[in-house]
Amino acid sequence: MADQEIDRALKLVANLSIDKASQVLSKMIKAGAKIELEGVSLEDVTKATERVMQSDTGDVVGAFVDLVGDLPFKFLFYVDANDSLTLTDLILRRELGTTKKFDVYVTSTVQELGNILASAVTNVFASDFQIKMKPTPPIVVHDYASTIFGEYIMEAAAEQDEILMIESMFRVVRLNVKCRMFLLPKGDAQKELAAIVGKI
């Protein structure tokens, strides 16, 4: 199968995953959430890190989730730290602005969003492609986006110079809340994924 066709098939997998994630996010926060696929790309590790450092300069709250099973992936969801307060209000159906400081509920909101979004992705892999995966409990971190992203890709960067990254941006309609979601195949999963999507 030609690289172009594999690329198209990978984008199909990514789009199905983020469509599902978009549905569950909208339901959870009771507000329209639009998720856009920013790209599925084989990217140089250093360039990918620089790009994230340039686009997200502030501190963020994120959730790392290991997806284990037939095709291991690393999942990362993060949101600008101030926007995590808004997401907490949305989830708890509180008036916006009620949550003013980082507390256990803010951390837990990001943890649960990470869990539910990762589950939405594994659901697509299982139902549409018969690939069994399940998320492990999320690990929540609060730091600069570049630090979190660096930690996220560290393992892959040690093994290879280029990484296959599925990247998407969420926008919560009317509130200008921006979040990002990344999917990174672990170990041989990249080759296996290419082989699987090659059969689509």
Partner: protein
């Protein structure tokens, strides 16, 4: 008399969401909250609640193991599983083991109430 509920989930936000729904509906008392399967088992033995809402993916002891242990201790225990969308296999296992019902996250208040009321025979 208010029905006594034990909420178990490693995410405090989910416990708070379920608690808000039950409190708003009225007629329920949240007797305790747990964040792991082990805590669920200990709290169940100690408090004997009328119903448990139980997350599946939790550290230490997961919700399935906790369900098994609770049912060993009290075969009549009423446990409603709370799970994310992809946990179909675990959910089926929980139902086979004896879970009373289940709620899929993200959930609506109506679905929570319907599962709780059905489990309690209301």
């Amino acid at each position: 008399m208010a029905k006594r509920i034990l909420l178990v989930d490693d995410a405090p936000i989910i416990r708070l969401m379920i608690k808000d729904i039950l409190v708003e509906c009225g007629g329920y008392e949240i007797v305790a909250e747990g964040a792991t399967g082990k805590e669920a088992l200990d709290l169940y033995k100690q408090l004997k609640p009328d119903l448990v809402t139980m997350d599946i993916v939790m550290p230490e002891m997961d919700g399935i193991q906790a369900l098994e242990e609770i049912l060993k201790f009290d075969p009549k225990a009423k446990v409603v599983m709370v799970t994310a969308i992809d946990q179909r296999e675990s959910l089926m296992k929980a139902i086979r083991l004896g879970a009373t019902d289940y709620i899929v996250k993200p959930f609506e208040a109506d679905r929570v109430m319907s599962a709780v009321q059905k489990a309690l025979g209301e």
